[in-house]
Symmetry: C2
DNA sequence: TTCCAATACTAAACCGATTTAGTAATGACG
DNA sequence: CGTCATTACTAAATCGGTTTAGTATTGGAA
């Protein structure tokens, strides 16, 4: 059915070795130009397509990378994967994508499969629900000798390469921006303390307040996780404070949008004039006019894949944590204090 | 480094054959229970992980499916892939994802790579920009004898399996809904005539008008493609009609949102009171309160993958076109005619 | 003429599993 | 006691490439 090396060899009247040498351009070995031309012509004519399985079995390289993500629903994650795709395409790598659906067991099972498929390396985009099982995943990878890059978590930076965004700085930029708009009562809708990104954003928030000599008030920070329910509850609490905040820094745009959506109408009305800066700059952030800190997830993905390829080539490098810059996108929700415009 | 069948065999004092028989539960061959137990124990202890490359080379099956998408930026596409993931996980299949970035050449090159990797089948999510090259892709796949399912286009339904949504019916539902809200001047922001989905939506729009005895007016239909520029221009034209429409049926939510975004402030103000029903029900549609026709893209992905697996098992089946149902999600943008509420 | 080097190509081993065809040992039966 | 079936296992071929170590041929130099 499928044309093999041997078929081409027969048709061209040479040995499989010669076919292999010609098609892989092995110039160390002398070859008559005429033979070379003939083999190429025959291979093209017959539609020869090398079987990468066979090649990989011998070489131990598959040109295939495993990608583990918590879910593709998040357009933030989707963009990271897009960035990986782009870089992978340029480097002739294929991506085996596996979605864990936020489930550590699925993650474990899928990673096992990736290893059986002999991926050359693995890219892990961390998620709130799979963070706890990350050390176990890393252990398995280390034992298998398969390189790995972790995205969006730096808790294991001494053991393994990771790529994150400058979350603390991003948060600081966002809050400083609100302060410059004249706000003093600035709340933080937090993602809790379960992820290093959420912790960094809180830390940036505090730093910005401190630099402006605004005392930190613990009741201005609410939110236990990146879940909608937690966010809605937290936002409700913030808006119900005796002296409600005039501005909000949300750890995530989606969190903000969903929370607003879920709030009772009264609370939602109270929020109408508040200033907001969010995080992650989803597509819809533009439609909603929410100012947001953009991490350019594509760059994250590209950088991670680039790093993984480097690591595969030079396994001995010391692990490194790449922190990519972020930038603030200002939109309508950056309202100056006291404004009552829509 | 990696534990092989042979290593397990040596350790357990049996032949590789026996190891293979035990681990694959080949009961046709008699095996002493004690041997079986020992082999299993040794394999587990040594962390044996079968090399699927070797297995595939022999069997001709890789348990790997190629997925070709125009881009992961669209959350609609991302959801389709999510659905595939889910079904794939249940069937022990791996997905090789390739993003063509809307470029036919990248698509061709990537598909070539997928074939070299011996995927068992290919899932193609069509995009406006890669539709023209689809016949060529299908030809190559047919020649290679690799099964394929096409998503979101039924132009080749006699040759190849396809999975689409009931777009005509969805459009009819949307427009009928607007008619029931009392609207008569209903415009259609179209996706042009380049894709069968856009054509079907237009056709559903016309059917709904006809059933309500509203004469079709060609100036009420605008839009040449699913691009933002085209949509903004089209919407501008519609809103500037001497008697502007009171309601809009948009071929796509994103198109609508982006067009609004791009419009001049004056036109945007004119639209504030118009009723809208969109298509595709993106996440942000809920945040913006846009009524929308939901195709449940996950189901599309699941159905497509299911069909592909069936096709792989039974290559002789006649090609089939699956049309999945859609449903209308009603939100704030479903304003009755003459309303001036926000 | 003989020897060596360069040229052009190839035979065979190998990657790690599965599978087919077969062997050795045991036991039952006539 | 010989034969045949059954049980428990294995040797070797195979998948489709790449690579190593080689062979045959030619030409030039001594």
């Amino acid at each position: 059915m499928r044309v093999r090396n041997l078929d081409v060899a027969r048709e061209a009247g040479v040995s499989p070795t010669t076919v292999s040498l010609v098609l892989n351009d092995r110039t160390q070995v002398a070859l008559a130009p005429e033979t070379k031309r003939r083999v190429q012509e025959v291979a093209a004519r017959m539609g020869y397509r090398p079987n990468l399985l066979a090649r990989s079995l011998l070489s131990g390289r598959t040109q295939t990378l495993g990608v583990i993500i918590p879910s593709l629903s998040s357009s933030y994650v989707a963009r990271i994967v897009e960035g990986m795709q782009e870089e992978a395409g340029d480097s002739n790598q294929q991506l085996l994508l596996t979605d864990t659906r936020h489930d550590p067991e699925t993650e474990a099972a899928q990673m096992e499969l990736l290893l059986r498929h002999s991926v050359d390396g693995v890219l892990i985009v961390t998620g709130e629900s799979t963070l706890r099982s990350l050390p176990e995943r890393l252990r398995v990878l280390r034992e298998a000798g398969v390189p790995c890059v972790v995205i969006d978590d730096q808790s294991h930076a001494e053991q393994v390469d990771c790529v994150v965004s400058q979350d603390r700085i991003g948060a600081e930029m966002a809050v400083t921006h609100l302060i410059e708009l004249g706000h003093r009562r600035i709340a933080h809708l937090s993602g809790g303390s379960g992820t290093s990104t959420a912790r960094d954003r809180l830390s940036g928030y505090r730093r910005a307040l401190k630099r402006a000599s605004i005392p930190f008030q613990s009741e201005w920070v609410a939110g236990r996780s990146f879940s909608v329910a937690a966010a809605a509850q937290a936002l409700e609490a913030l808006v119900s404070l005796p002296k409600p905040p005039t501005a909000y820094f949300a750890a995530n745009d989606r969190l903000w949008a969903e929370a607003i959506q879920a709030l009772r109408p009264r609370s939602a009305r109270l929020l109408r004039n508040a200033a907001v800066v969010g995080y992650a700059n989803y597509d819809f952030s533009a439609y909603l006019g929410i100012s947001s800190v953009d991490q350019s997830p594509q760059s994250l993905g590209k950088a991670a894949l680039r790093r993984l390829l480097d690591r595969i080539e030079t396994p001995s490098m010391p692990p490194q944590c790449l922190e990519l810059p972020v930038n603030l996108v200002v939109r309508n929700s950056s309202k100056p204090v006291g404004s009552s415009a829509p």
